[in-house]
């Protein structure tokens, strides 16, 4: 670890914190339906969409209708991606002549992109046409991100409103989020990325004659426009197989720094939207503090582990950290930082191969996802995940003093706690359950790239990442098989929607409750005690759930590595 390394980490945190208030202020205006500086341009487009969609701007929806609208919207998104992948050979914008994608892989990919996971069992440049990348994937990058954000906003409205039956209108929220938040940022962002060296072209792959006379086919494409939303919307699906490690997908140290900022920007700012909507910004800062504590701890461990390198490299006299699977322009610190950020949020883009990380260095990304990606988290998904943990924490605090717990003026009762527990328990059921099934079947076991405990971690990581809708991978696992395509799709689907539906049920139930003013007996939820309590609850629930699985994978691998074992 170096001073310059830590300076990069500190500067990163400062930039994120500085963005929270302005972005939170702007998004609050957007979701409250107020005018913004972009309204003169965007309002006619917005009104046009409502007109052809038959959306009544004055009508709000009950939480069930809101959720149903969201699900219908996703059915359409699924059909578009699946159809494009199956038919891409017959459609235009296919200069590399990619053929139709197999049924199981198309199914997996369509589920993957509508759930904001962007798990990739394919290599982009060797499988997909430009049309599929743009119309199928780029558009769903926008819409699945917007979905996460608007669901978080609906849940916030549940906390903020009193005695109401509705939580907002899905069609208005999704349209405003896409037009006013995501699209304008992405336009500027795309130009920045191209300036840094990212291709943005519909031309053919380039044929180059290298200095030594060999032929090199260089894949290009409309990369920058997709990468902008991939990072901002915490989607993470790479245009290229190597994702943000590919020099075209992350050309410079500066593009890397801006990319990691864009992963956290919206998720962090949503804590401020929460604070503003419930009428006390300190409630938002307290939640961000919980996230910050867990984040810094994770960065410190991964950075230390990767800089400390592996026993086999020490034996050979190689110094300078674990550079296997890392790029020279990023080095150890920017690779470690990226890995922690991308898994803390549900982004899943990678600028280094996690599969080649040390045991402990790779364990932190795994833990981040197993906690449910609540450290800033996916855009929106992180906030509603964290609010579920807050609900449990408040409940625990209430039990300690024997009072009905309350949070931001709302009584937390049996229904809310049951729903929160349901959402929190469904995740381990998926990633532990499917891992257990996969590692006793010969076919799925033979897909591992590494032997020994590392191979087990590859499978555990795959199901954890898909359940958490992250999409990063221990990429050595050959996941493009019938078994993995189907079971991973199942994990992604359940991990996304069985978290969303209970969260929306809580939103609906809270919106209908009366707001009660704080009294002497109210547990203050803006101070250090609250932050400590939530961190404790997260670590206890998380630790009890997945520690045994970690012991079989990264922990035993670390011990084996220090003992000099090879598999």
């Amino acid at each position: 670890m170096t001073v310059i390394g830590w300076l990069q980490i500190i500067l990163y945190c400062i930039v994120i914190v500085a963005l929270v208030k302005p972005l939170g202020w702007y998004m609050t205006r957007v979701f409250n339906g107020e005018r913004t500086f972009l309204s003169p341009v965007l309002r006619p487009v917005e009104a046009g969409i409502y007109w052809i969609g038959g959306v009544d701007e004055r009508r709000e929806q009950h939480w069930l209708t809101y959720t149903a609208a969201m699900l219908l919207f996703h059915v359409g998104g699924f059909l578009i991606i699946y159809g494009l992948m199956r038919l891409q050979a017959l459609l235009p914008f296919n200069p590399a002549g990619q053929s139709a994608v197999a049924e199981d892989l198309s199914f997996n990919t369509a589920i993957s992109f509508i759930t904001n996971t962007n798990w990739q069992n394919y290599g982009g440049e060797s499988t997909l046409s430009y049309l599929t990348q743009m119309v199928g994937l780029t558009h769903q990058n926008f819409l699945s991100a917007a979905t996460g954000i608007v669901l978080a906003v609906a849940l916030i409205r549940g906390f903020a409103r009193a005695s109401m039956r509705t939580v907002g209108n899905f069609w208005i929220d999704i349209t405003r989020c896409t037009l006013y938040v995501l699209l304008p940022i992405c336009i500027v962002y795309t130009l920045f990325l191209v300036w840094q060296g990212m291709p943005q072209t519909l031309g053919d792959y380039v044929e180059a004659a290298t200095l030594e006379g060999a032929k090199q086919t260089i894949a290009v494409g409309p990369v920058a426009s997709q990468v902008a939303i991939k990072m901002l919307g915490t989607n993470g699906g790479g245009f290229f197989n190597a994702n943000a490690a590919h020099p075209f997908e992350n050309p410079t140290a500066l593009s890397n720094f801006v990319q990691i900022i864009s992963i956290f920007a919206i998720g962090a700012a949503l804590t401020n939207v929460f604070g503003r909507m419930v009428g006390n910004q300190r409630q938002g800062w307290a939640i961000l503090a919980v996230m910050g504590v867990l984040f810094i701890a994770g960065v410190a461990i991964t950075y230390w582990a990767e800089a400390n390198s592996t026993t086999m490299m020490h034996t050979l006299g190689l110094t300078g950290g674990n550079m296997e699977g890392k790029e020279v322009r990023f080095g150890i610190v920017a690779s470690s930082l990226f890995a922690v950020i991308t898994t803390a949020a549900s982004c899943g883009a990678v600028n280094a191969m996690h599969d080649s990380f040390t045991g402990l260095g790779g364990m932190i990304p795994l833990i981040n996802m197993q906690l449910g990606e609540i450290i800033v988290g996916g855009v929106g998904a992180g906030l509603y995940g964290m609010l579920l943990f807050v609900t449990i924490s408040i409940f625990v605090a209430g039990l300690m003093v024997g009072r009905t717990p309350e949070y931001v003026g709302k009584k937390i009762e049996a229904r809310e706690v049951k729903m929160a527990m349901l959402a929190i328990l469904v995740l381990p059921l998926m990633y532990l359950g499917w891992t257990a099934v996969a590692v006793v079947l010969p076919g799925p076991v033979s897909a591992m790239n590494n032997a020994g405990p590392h191979g087990f971690t590859e499978v555990l990581y795959a199901y954890t990442s898909s359940t958490g809708n992250n999409g990063s991978a221990f990429a050595g696992l050959s996941g493009n098989t019938f078994f993995y395509n189907l079971t991973l799709a199942c994990a992604m689907f359940v991990g996304r929607f069985f978290m969303i539906i209970p969260a929306m049920a809580i939103a609906g139930s809270l919106a209908g409750k009366k707001s009660i003013p704080p009294s002497m007996g109210t547990f203050p939820t803006t101070g250090g005690l609250f932050v400590g309590l939530v961190v404790g609850v997260i670590l206890i629930i998380g630790g009890l759930t997945f520690f045994p699985a970690l012991a079989l994978g990264p922990i035993v691998e670390h011990l084996a590595m220090t003992a000099g074992a090879l598999f």
Binding site: V55, H139, A242, P247, F248, E324, G331
Partner: protein, 200 residues
């Protein structure tokens, strides 16, 4: 519920057209007009022929060129399409080795790489990036130490004084951005082009 079906179709289609068609096409047009060089892939021309991209590494094997990092990229086996064969710096199929810290395969590969480099230049310690594969398999850069390590070999093969070659390495070394971001590095293709130009 039925009244949600119309927006489910039309709002979806409208947003798909905006974000999936208009946005990438307009960005392609605008980016191509403002940054034509980058938008096409930062291609490098020499004598009217494309020799590669400034951002994409390529394979160098001869003694007289600086070598990049080992690359783990593959290509489909021409004899059996269900298998793949090693194809270093295949810029149409990026990827890493994905070998972990207790992998015997990785250990053997590192050992072989270290022995080869030690034979070439016993005087200096072997730089870690010259024996490890990159994440993309297309890393265009090596560390300044890795470039300096190769100076004796390149100078000998080209019959150039070592100082001259070392100067070229220094000229092609990029520092950290603002002294803070990223790592110092040398772009291998740029260095080798400079080497060829100096030899003329």
């Amino acid at each position: 519920m039925l009244r949600e079906i119309r927006p489910a179709i039309f709002v979806l289609l409208a947003l798909t057209l905006i974000t999936g068609v208009a946005y990438p096409l307009v960005m392609t047009g605008v980016a191509g007009a403002i940054f034509p060089q980058q938008a096409q892939g930062s291609l490098i021309d020499r004598d009217g022929k494309v020799v590669g991209s400034a951002l994409i590494g390529q394979e160098f094997k001869s003694e007289g060129y600086f070598h990049g990092r080992p690359s783990a990229t593959t290509a489909p086996d021409p004899n059996d399409s269900t298998k793949t064969v090693a194809a270093p710096y295949n810029a149409a199929n990026s990827g890493g080795s994905n070998l972990g810290p207790t992998s015997k395969v990785l250990s053997d590969r590192l050992k072989e790489g270290v022995e080869k480099l030690k034979a070439e230049n016993p005087a200096s310690p072997v730089p870690v990036d010259l024996v490890t594969t990159s994440a993309s398999g297309l890393d265009p850069d090596i560390s300044p130490e890795a470039a300096l390590f190769q100076v004796p070999r390149v100078a000998k093969a080209r019959n150039m004084p070592q100082e001259r070659v070392r100067d070229l390495v220094t000229q092609n070394t990029q520092g950290r951005l603002l002294g803070l971001f990223g790592e110092p590095r040398v772009n291998v293709l740029a260095l080798n082009l400079a080497l060829d130009a100096a030899a003329k």
